[in-house]
């Protein structure tokens, strides 16, 4: 995000006149609305906001947001965003990508925008499938996923976007899902973070991977299968009857029962968004034996790439003039008399 004068806008101001072309019921609609609802709250200026995307269903996103938008090529959105940010660091840049775009063909660029810490919000819509190309398994598809290219079930071990982002040196890691009421608060935290803010958003592809995330997003199971990371608060779930604690003997996490609200007695961890070790444990926490960790898992800023690079450039320029004639005549010269 940037320190710009807040602008008064409404959700309507962030809608374009373009017909939205996602499949009816696609999780992308909910994410779009959540973003359009969040932007006015941020005081964002449409003229200073840029959405940059790669290729895939999620990457159509910029066409539907009334700001500057660049629908680029497959996997490379982070590199375009880096150029935009270096050319004009005043711009508030959102990178929209998917599990295929950001973790497969563009994994390299995802790594480097995070490693460099370019001040952007990176929203990775993870539906664990290739939607736009009609349902092939993706790098985040679970083992055994049946698809046109894996009729016997996929055998690849899936990538974990948050673990990847943290491993790449990420300083802001968050997780949410398309219809979550908490998605706007996660987006706001991402926007508030100075640096590359990585947000994985589970997204329901209703055509090729329908209800894939139901085991933790469906209403009846949600409470028991989601743990929301909130800074300074204990990692509780199942209406406070369970918690995440550290097994000191094995240096791993465990689920503990919380009786009569005595989470302290049960040894439940208090979440600290600046604790990188807890962040590693939470993003690696296997779903099934554990609930799905959601919310702002890690948030510990350090100087951004553009401030470092452009600051260095400014220093290099100080006291020098852009005298081209002098530059051309540099070094050892000789004169041929007329």
């Amino acid at each position: 995000m940037n320190d710009l004068t807040p602008i008064k806008t409404t959700l309507k101001d962030w809608e374009t006149d373009q017909e939205v072309r996602w499949c009816p019921g696609c999780g992308d609609y909910a994410i779009l609305k959540a973003v359009q609802r969040t932007l006015p709250d941020l005081g964002a200026d449409p003229s200073k906001t840029v959405f940059v995307s790669g290729i895939g269903c999620s990457s159509r996103f910029p066409y539907y947001v009334e700001s500057y938008g660049f629908h680029t090529i497959h996997g490379r959105a982070p590199a375009f965003a880096t150029g935009i940010k270096l050319a004009n660091p005043e711009l508030d840049v959102w990178v929209i990508t998917g599990d295929g775009d950001g973790m497969s063909i563009g994994g390299n660029h995802t790594m480097h925008i995070i490693r460099r810490n370019v001040n952007t919000q990176i929203l990775l819509f993870n539906n664990e499938i290739y939607g736009l190309t009609k349902g092939q398994y993706s790098p985040t598809s679970r083992e055994g996923t049946h698809s046109p290219t894996s009729p016997l079930g996929s055998v690849d071990h899936p990538a974990s976007p948050c673990a990847f982002a943290l491993g790449a040196g990420g300083r802001f890691i968050a997780r949410s899902y398309d219809v979550s009421k908490d998605l706007p608060s996660v987006l706001k935290a991402a926007h508030a973070h100075q640096g590359a803010a990585f947000v994985e958003i589970f997204q329901n592809c209703i055509v090729y991977n329908k209800d894939r995330f139901d085991d933790f997003t469906a209403k009846p199971v949600a409470d028991a299968s989601q743990v929301w990371a909130r800074h300074g608060e204990p990692l509780l779930f199942a209406k406070g009857t369970k918690g995440i604690a550290l097994d000191h003997a094995t240096l791993s996490l465990k689920v503990v029962d919380v009786v009569d609200g005595d989470w302290q007695g049960a040894g439940v961890l208090v979440h600290d968004v600046t604790n990188r070790t807890i962040a590693h444990l939470l993003v690696e926490m296997p779903f099934g034996p554990f609930p799905m960790a959601l919310g702002v898992i890690y948030d510990d800023p350090r100087p951004t790439f553009e401030s470092a690079l452009l600051g260095q450039d400014a220093k290099a320029r100080a006291g020098k003039s852009a005298d081209l004639a002098k530059l051309l005549a540099k070094g050892q010269t000789w004169t041929v008399a007329g």
Binding site: Y63, A79, F80, T82, G83, A87, H112, A325, L327, A329
Partner: protein
């Protein structure tokens, strides 16, 4: 005149006609890649330039950074052709070969002119090095070099002796060999040592002992020449200064002039310059140069790969900078998809390709012109991109400015073709006056341009160019992307009519650039006749000299050298039809020949060379003779 000493090699070696000064001399320094031959050559070039000679150089080094010592593939060479007349090539055959070891002798002596002079470091011709160079018998002793004048002495021992007072270790002391050799070369060609001494003092400012040792070696080499003159075949030669246009001169390489030209272009367009690059031989030196020019509004970004390099440059262009990226063939291949996006979104961009031998990794440090198809045709879809080719290091300055002009005026990516030879070769350059170039300031769209305050990002001006709208401009929010679009609003529209219209508009825009480029001139000769040699890029020197020589012999041959490879100058077809025969010498298998045949239905013939080495004048002259009879 490039290669022949008018008096033959005797002028150098004290033969019968020794009194006459030669017009031009070709010297090749060859040694192990660790011997500092490129540095020696570079400094000799500088002293040559300061002596007022015209010159051209050809650095020829292996792809390996430190190839195993003494091996044949580890030989690094630097050739310089200098004279009192106009020099356009690095010379066909050396008059003098300085060989620092057996491998250097073996790989280079074949090129030496018959009767030419070999200066060899006999100290390095030991059993071990002879074996590495696959010599069974020492060639300095078996008479096998009888075709040439041989001067062998123990440069290693002489250097050690010269630097002894400085107490260096044996290895460090031997590193001064190249300065000893340079000292000898400076004596041979009657050059002032002082600029070299100043340079050494600067280079080793933090280690005066090393500076002093190198200077001592330089002086010792020089003194050796003076003494040897009395007895050996060595004699001093003075090559007179060339009669040049009055003005201020310096030496430059193509990598330097391209960097300066890009900076100049950005100034003329009144834009900040963003350069996204990824290291690749031989293109990296452009990035090396630009990082030092921040005060000219330059931002450089070393990206994670070639794709990110061009993508960042396109992103910067969307935000209002002059976006530039540069690479060599393999890297350009990776950038191809993004080039298509720049065509589709109609953003200005300059893509510099320092060509090298291909395909694939090919010959990383050698030169070739085999990326012409890639530049003109090599993308998916109907994706026209203008292509400009530089003919020499000096020419690359103007070409870079021209690339910026076209990119910003027509809102299009532009490919600037150069090659490994131009990038690395040095030549004297008459320093241009930046004020003599007409500015072409860019105007960004600041207000809605459509009816009733609407924005039409793809409305076109008289050049067929859309407006450049800087992301961040208040109120002009719009979306662009790689999907086919409505011809005015730019909204997604892949209807049949829209794609037909947009394809036509993109083609017409690039075709229309031909109207803004100068008509093709005859570089040398007449606008019609028996034969024309059509060249592009770095073949300029050998073609020009070959045509000049053939014309001197009365042959009806002309030279046309094309800068605007795409679109071609409007008059080129008519011009070429005025000749009975068209011959296209290229360092590829005939790519420009194919373009000419396709565009003009003319019987263009090809002359190829793909050895990683530039054409020699003799090769082209022979082809002229073969085509129209000697």
């Amino acid at each position: 005149m490039a290669t022949a000493l008018i008096d033959g090699p005797d002028a150098l070696t004290g033969g019968k006609d020794a009194a006459a000064a030669p017009e031009a001399v070709v010297v090749r320094f060859a040694g192990d890649s660790g011997d500092g031959m490129q540095l020696t050559g570079g400094q000799f070039t500088l002293s040559t330039a300061l002596a007022g000679n015209d010159l051209a150089t050809f650095p020829d080094f292996p792809a390996e950074i430190r190839a195993p010592q003494g091996t044949l593939f580890g030989v690094s060479a630097f050739q310089i052709n200098f004279g009192s007349t106009e020099i356009d090539t690095a010379g066909d055959q050396p008059d003098v070969l300085i060989a620092m070891n057996p491998a250097a002798l073996k790989t280079n002596v074949g090129a030496l002119k018959a009767g030419g002079l070999i200066i060899a470091d006999s100290g390095e011709f030991n059993k071990r090095n002879l074996e590495k160079a696959k010599y069974e018998v020492n060639p300095l002793e078996d008479g096998s070099l009888h075709k040439w004048q041989l001067l062998a002495f123990d440069i290693s021992a002489l250097t050690l002796q010269a630097v002894k007072p400085f107490g260096l270790g044996n290895k460090e002391a031997l590193r001064c060999k190249n300065m000893w050799t340079l000292g000898l070369a400076l004596w041979m060609f009657d050059r002032d040592r002082q600029p070299l001494i100043d340079w050494l003092n600067g280079k080793f400012a933090k280690n005066q002992v090393l500076a002093d040792a190198n200077i001592a070696a330089l002086n010792a080499g020089h003194a050796y020449g003076e003494t040897a003159e009395l007895s050996g075949p060595l004699r001093q030669v003075h090559v007179g200064a060339v009669a040049s246009e009055p003005g201020l001169y310096r030496t430059v390489t193509g990598a330097e002039t391209i960097s300066y030209g890009l900076v100049a272009g950005a100034q003329l367009a009144e834009l900040p310059l963003f350069f996204g690059g990824y290291p690749i031989t031989p293109a990296s030196s452009i990035l090396h140069n630009l990082v030092k020019l921040k005060e000219f509004g330059v931002t450089t970004f070393q990206a994670e790969d070639e794709i990110a390099a061009i993508a960042s440059a396109i992103g910067a262009a969307y935000a209002g900078h002059l976006g530039v990226t540069s690479s060599s063939g393999p890297g350009i291949a990776l950038k191809t998809e993004a080039m298509g996006l720049a065509v589709m979104t109609e953003l200005p961009l300059v893509i510099v390709n320092s060509q090298r031998g291909g395909p694939s990794t090919g010959l990383p440090t050698k030169t070739e012109q085999s990326d012409l198809y890639q530049a003109v045709y090599g993308r998916n879809g109907d994706t026209p991109i203008p292509v400009i080719a530089a003919r020499s290091p000096s020419d690359a300055f103007d070409c870079a400015i021209e690339a910026v002009r076209i990119a910003t005026r027509y809102m299009t990516p532009v490919i600037l073709l150069t090659d490994g030879y131009i990038a690395n070769a040095a030549e004297p350059w008459k320093v241009p006056d930046p004020a003599s170039y007409a500015p072409f300031p860019v105007t960004f769209l600041e207000e809605p341009n459509g009816p009733d305050g609407t924005l039409l990002p793809f409305a076109r001006n008289e050049n067929g160019a859309r407006p450049w709208i800087k992301a961040g401009t208040p109120g002009l929010m719009h979306r662009i992307g790689g999907i086919e679009k409505n011809p005015l609003t730019g909204d997604i529209d892949y209807s049949p009519a829209s794609h037909q219209t947009m394809t036509d508009l993109r083609k017409a825009k690039v075709d229309g650039i031909a109207k803004s480029i100068p008509p093709q001139e005859v570089t040398l000769g007449e606008p019609g006749g028996k034969l024309v040699l059509v060249g592009w890029g770095s073949t300029f020197g050998p073609i020009h000299q070959a045509v000049r020589r053939a014309r001197k012999r009365g042959l009806d041959v002309s030279h046309v050298h094309v800068r605007h490879v795409w679109p071609l100058p409007e008059n080129l077809g008519d011009l070429l039809r005025g000749y009975d025969k068209v011959l296209v010498p290229e360092m590829n298998t005939g790519q420009f020949k194919t373009v000419l045949r396709d565009q003009y239905l003319i019987d263009a013939r090809t002359l190829n060379k793909t050895s990683g080495q530039p054409f020699t004048i003799a090769e082209i002259e022979a082809a002229i003779d073969e085509t129209i009879g000697a």
